[in-house]
Symmetry: C2
């Protein structure tokens, strides 16, 4: 932790973060934590930094920033078909940080009952354990003919960000306030699809989370000699995104290339699709099939509503 009040770092940790510590963390009095793995389970590890001015606005509520930092990492865990056991946190603060900000930030992290409410399966999963060694769901394992699936809806966070950056654009100003609030919330609060993990582990040939945009992440998921055809009309949109795109059809590009969705993108063999969708639905998560893995190289081709085919340059997305 950086900042001028380093003298009281231990006091601040004891006050705000030690109450959140799980077993093995020894009340955060030690510089390291201990984890006893469950027999026969692999551990899935991920570390994604979340940076002011890149992944969130510095003026966002601190609890929202904490939830986002945790959520983007939980999303990677979910995409591996794993269930979370815990997290380590490092925090670098600007010189003008306040204790009130820190208290708010800690409020956004899970602990006991609060975690159960705000993070869905997290606390329950802490009582279960990590991924049982059955099979590895990796990107790059998609086979020709596999169906391409996504959870939830795509593009909401990108539109939420666009709305904050250009709030007075006609499409944004014309949206119903409830729909505006929904887009803003999707940008601010990732909803990692942890509940889909068992279905992914059982059925997906490849999986990753959509963090840098559907088009770019799909390109990343396909190995050499594999590409894909996507029917844009099948990409699931929220009511808010549908209204926005109706007001300004050019927004579909932001939907398809924008990031921060934290939905799961995966491929599933055709004969497994029905079971996959049913099991995800039973866990409360909608799955849409949006396209098919084909042989060939080059970026995935998106069939647009007007019948034209489009490709999107790799790396078009930047969080801000």
């Amino acid at each position: 932790m950086a900042g001028p009040a380093r003298a009281s770092e231990e006091g601040l940790i004891a006050r705000y973060f030690a109450p959140l510590a799980g077993p093995g963390a020894d009340g955060l009095r030690d510089d390291a934590a201990t984890l006893t793995p469950a027999p026969g389970h692999d551990l899935v590890l991920t570390a994604d930094a979340v940076v002011a001015g890149v992944h969130y606005f510095a003026e966002d509520p601190p609890a929202s920033i904490a939830r986002k930092a945790l959520g983007v990492n939980l999303s990677d865990i979910a995409a591996k078909g794993a269930v979370p056991r815990g997290f380590l946190l490092t925090l670098a603060l600007p010189d003008d940080w306040t204790e009130a900000w820190l208290a708010g930030f800690a409020q956004g992290l899970p602990s006991g009952d609060r975690g159960a409410v705000e993070h869905g399966a997290l606390v329950e999963d802490l009582l279960v354990d990590e991924r049982h060694v059955e099979r590895d769901v990796l990107p790059l394992a998609a086979r020709v003919g596999d169906r391409i699936c996504v959870t939830g809806t795509i593009g909401d966070a990108a539109l939420g960000l666009r709305m904050r950056l250009e709030g007075d654009a006609p499409w944004a100003a014309g949206l119903d306030p409830a729909l505006r609030a929904e887009l803003a919330d999707r940008y601010l609060h990732p909803r990692p699809r942890l509940a889909a993990a068992p279905a992914i582990r059982r059925h997906a040939s490849a999986a990753m989370d959509v963090s840098d945009g559907l088009a770019g992440d799909l390109a990343k998921m396909l190995s050499a000699g594999r590409t894909a055809r996507v029917a844009t009309a099948d990409v699931p949109l929220s009511e808010a995104a549908r209204c926005a795109c109706a007001a300004d059809p050019a927004l579909i590009e932001a939907v398809l290339t924008g990031g921060d969705d934290y939905e799961i993108l995966c491929t599933v063999a055709p004969e497994r699709l029905a079971d996959f969708r049913a099991e995800a639905a039973a866990a409360g998560i909608a799955v849409a099939a949006i396209g098919t893995v084909t042989s060939g190289d080059g970026p995935p081709r998106f069939e647009m509503r007007d019948g034209a085919e489009r490709v999107f340059a790799a790396g078009a997305f930047s969080h801000f």
Copy 2:
């Protein structure tokens, strides 16, 4: 990774970091890594951020910054009596980063043969595994009567930092260039005492690494009702530190309270002390007994060379 060239993030990762990836990291093509724990072993996890202007100078060689970031974390692993299996890395760069800087940074990270040379036991330990579940070496477990021990020498990094901040002070200007270089190197390149891990695991009642200064970290290691008496004359000093303190006796305070030592501070029952020192010496690491755990509260008391007793306020240390 933040920065304007996010478009080529995957390319940079593939070029500079993928060649360093170990098993389970899938060539860094995935957002998460998989680790198969060794049966009957606990995992020790730590995450320390290393920040420009706080833990190093922005103009330091990038390979040195990488070694420091890794070293301060390996030091925590060593203090737990564990051996490293691997690391996850996140990197936030300022807007003016260059590819040359990134290439240099990657050079400072271990991979294959280079790791064996620069990081001592690291690569060998990657072939071994994490801590076998025998007993937990925790801070706060020191007993009255235990001897207080430190590895290596204390204060060199603090003097190295002081030298950089006030290089023309008489004590610094009068030092032999080789000794100046030694102090500068100790600040820049932590030497985590990984080879001491087995001896610590076998003999220490409590252990932590000295990152925020000997006096402060010793105070942290003692639980309520425990304090300590330290003979300052027994605190091991390098030749460089001895010369510096001879030129300016007030520097002993920097030695005792300065940070970035990354030596191991531990307590050992008196009847185990000889075995502990012998086993550490056999692993190439000198151990000095500098004091004793006593009952009572308040900060540890340091008996100075002039016979006076001194205490040092908690939290006196800040990295810069």
